[in-house]
Symmetry: C2
Subunit: 500 residues, 2 copies
């Protein structure tokens, strides 16, 4: 039925595109882990060239013709056929790519690099004035980028769609409003009591032992070191060079055991998702996680739902005590568990606890929309940010460094579409985990015994192996039989913090 | 005078070619240092694609047209003008590249990969039968490769020329014959006495301390870690990703202090050459060492002439003793110095001492020519190899693993042009070092004080900064005022081994 010859021709062409992107990912990984300072200039040129070549090869009109010629065949295949999915996602990506002129991409990329460098210098100096003109241009470019995809209901929609396909401001706003309304009283209730004592985490934990502990945990939860590695970097991330090489990074703080630990588990969650994708999808449009939200659902499921659970630490705390006897021998499991779950109204998103984390994200999401709509001027951003922290979290940033300059996203990417994925991920992590527990009620007991293969096997089978074959919405429907809802996530949080 | 617009157009085009090659070098470095096993398949595809793209961009006829259009201008410039050199070397490389059809390159590259994998498995099993058909095809492909450059005096000449531009079998044969005639009696004389005791090197030397010692020595002799790094690999090499990032690798053997040490110094020699190239030549035809021979002259100058000298160890031996007191406190400087210079008739080229090393190389060079000429059949190679080891080195390999299967070169590259660079390098190292001493007689005293900047400064100024601007022959003439001669090298060896 399918024209195999043409399909193979298309696949061969796109494999080249993904091979170039993956080569670029190797260069980025090296840049952020091992590259000596002198390498920066040449590396910038090499990366820009690889990105340009990948883009040129992708938007080649021959790809468009092949997609057109194969469309009739694709329409005859069932929705969940691999080839139908391949052509569906390839077309979606192709049509997105050809809508933006290469000159615009070049201008955007050049500005983003410049803005990132400015932010890197300005943030430690708390110098919002220096990045303000950069941010103004980022806003202009974000709007202009979105315009290529007109018409749209909201100017943020094309930017949101790029990270979380199928999502719109109109869908997210009420979902987030509902979540905020449910979270606020929980935060009030929990923070009315003194925060948990986390002094046990804030002792001297030597790098070498932490490293071994991190490796052990990543391996035991199921991250495959035959197809990956763990290295150090300044801002931890996960990267894929293809199905057989998906790497994670972390950062060790010798005065905080939790810092590297949860960063490693978080990135291992991202990486186990990618490692679980059907290898037949390697170097193809289907060979990545399907959206920012689903990706985050996995990193945060492993980091929080698993990694901060009492079940998890029933197994691992004795191991931590064996590695760090001087620091932990006098600490109880309960103390340790609540230390890694300490709730407090704080300033920094990436260090926030599970309960307040989404409040941080939703502030950013709302401010993005306000800026894009023209309701909020860049010069008023610091005040607007601080006002929202005051109203939503009850604390006010003493400076912009720990306020509206804390996250890299707006300074190296777009204004718009950058943050919703984190909270969508949390919401989905609640849905997915509830479904996993329904299918396998033994998961908590397995965790207490240090076994994670039942959970990982379920996730692989129901979510990971599909890569980008299904959208986030389709995946949620397939896995849970429902549309996106915050209820399981709220139930999870209520259950967890009930004891406080 | 020069058409600046066209020259800049050409330079911009070729920068892209070198950026792609450098990106490929990053992928290779990662593959041999940190890549997990699962990465192999994707990495092979990524590298093949980058190599293909670099080649396609290089042989673009537009480059040929620009070279033609600029030739008249280039002819008016002095030979040593940077732009004249740029155009000269670019044309040479371009004309070499366009002579070989891309299909042939693909066939060659695919065979070389297959052959390398076969050798990797066959060598430990001493299975020459498995690689014999591979080697036969390599010989056929080597001859066919050379045919693209017909006419030539000897079929090996195009292969030699590619590594050591300007050299031919007719020049090298008498040079090597003369060297062999002078070395043979020296080897006889030195090996008539019992070999030096190297037991002091063959103790347990923990990896971590060796690593620090290697880093310290590389740094102190002048390898710049701001523009490079040292990592571990199975078969040590140096690689450049451009002027600002030139990396070295080594391998640590805990039962042999010398193993990593001299490998590190050797690679640091290669790398200091590349780090010393004029940064204006970055990512251009001039931005690499000018030939295999000149490169080897530097690696072996630093490894042997410097690194195995008594002057060097007068400074570093006390440091070695401080790091390894249990192993070295009872050892004298003299014992240590002769241990790292132990001469013996041995089987393995890469572990051979300075005196016998060239005998190993010249056997290979002669056998290469014999095979290319059709005088030696592949099936007779093991016997021919063993016969030459018997006659030249006085020992016979007990198996092919430590005989004709020991070096990767024929199994992953060409038969022809692979080995002459090592001995040409030794010969030039003698000439260059004699010239350095004539200009700066204080160099040995500086070394005894742990200072290497006078030597490095001279090498940078007279050799390194020029990159590929001058050929090996031009460089020798400029630096020494003479043509290539073995005399300084023989004098150096005679002086060194006089005491034995």
């Amino acid at each position: 039925m399918m024209n195999e010859h043409k399909l193979n021709e298309l696949k061969k062409r796109l494999t080249g595109v993904y091979d170039l992107r993956n080569a670029g990912a190797v260069l980025y990984w090296d840049q952020t882990t091992y590259m000596p300072p002198g390498g920066a200039e040449g590396r910038g040129r090499q990366q820009a060239l690889l990105a340009q070549l990948a883009h040129e090869r992708f938007i080649d009109p021959a790809n468009g013709r092949l997609l057109d010629e194969l469309q009739a065949d694709a329409d005859l295949l069932p929705h969940d056929h691999d080839d139908a999915a391949y052509l569906r996602v390839a077309r979606r990506e192709y049509e997105r790519a050809i809508k933006v002129p290469p000159q615009f991409i070049a201008e955007l990329s050049s500005h983003q690099n410049e803005s990132y460098v400015a932010w890197e210098h300005a943030r430690p100096e708390n110098d919002f004035g220096r990045v303000r003109p950069m941010l103004q241009k980022t806003l202009d470019l974000s709007r202009r980028y979105a315009e290529h995809f007109a018409p749209f209901a909201h100017v943020a929609d094309p930017l949101i769609d790029e990270a979380d396909y199928g999502m719109t401001a109109a869908v997210i706003r009420p979902l987030f409003a509902e979540l905020r309304a449910r979270l606020a009283p929980m935060v009030d209730r929990v923070t009315a009591r003194p925060p948990a004592d986390d002094a046990c985490l804030r002792q001297h934990y030597p790098d070498a032992q932490q490293w071994q502990f991190n490796l052990d945990i990543a391996r035991q939860i199921g991250y495959d070191f035959e197809r990956g590695r763990l290295d150090k970097t300044a801002h931890p991330f996960t990267t894929s060079f293809g199905a057989g090489d998906i790497r994670i990074t972390t950062r060790v703080a010798e005065d905080d055991l939790a810092y590297a630990l949860f960063s490693t588990i978080h990135e291992a969650g991202h990486a186990m998702y990618e490692q679980g994708i059907d290898p037949a999808f390697d170097a193809s449009p289907l060979g990545q996680g399907t959206s920012a939200g689903v990706h985050e659902s996995q990193s945060r499921l492993w980091e929080n739902v698993v990694g901060r659970s009492l079940d998890f630490w029933e197994h691992f705390f004795p191991k931590a005590q064996a590695i760090f006897p001087a620091q932990l021998s006098g600490v109880s499991l309960e103390t340790f568990h609540w230390a890694v779950n300490r709730v407090q109204r704080s300033l920094i998103r990436t260090e926030a606890d599970e309960l307040t984390y989404n409040l941080h994200v939703m502030i950013r999401f709302d401010l993005e929309l306000d800026m894009l709509e023209g309701k909020l001027a860049i010069e008023d951003l610091p005040d607007a940010w601080n006002a929202r922290y005051k109203s939503d979290l009850g604390i006010e940033p003493p400076n912009n460094r720990n306020g509206c300059m804390q996250d890299v996203h707006w300074y190296a990417g777009f204004i718009g579409g950058s943050f919703q994925g984190y909270t969508l991920g949390n919401i989905m992590s609640g849905m997915f985990y509830e479904a996993a527990l329904a299918a396998h009620p033994e998961i908590p007991a397995e965790m207490r015994a240090g076994r994670f293969d039942v959970l990982l096997g379920w996730l692989r089978n129901d979510i990971y192996r599909h890569g980008s074959k299904f959208t986030a919405a389709e995946l949620v429907q397939r896995v849970t039989g429902r549309e996106m809802t915050i209820e399981p996530y709220i139930r999870y949080l209520e259950n967890k913090y009930r004891e406080i």
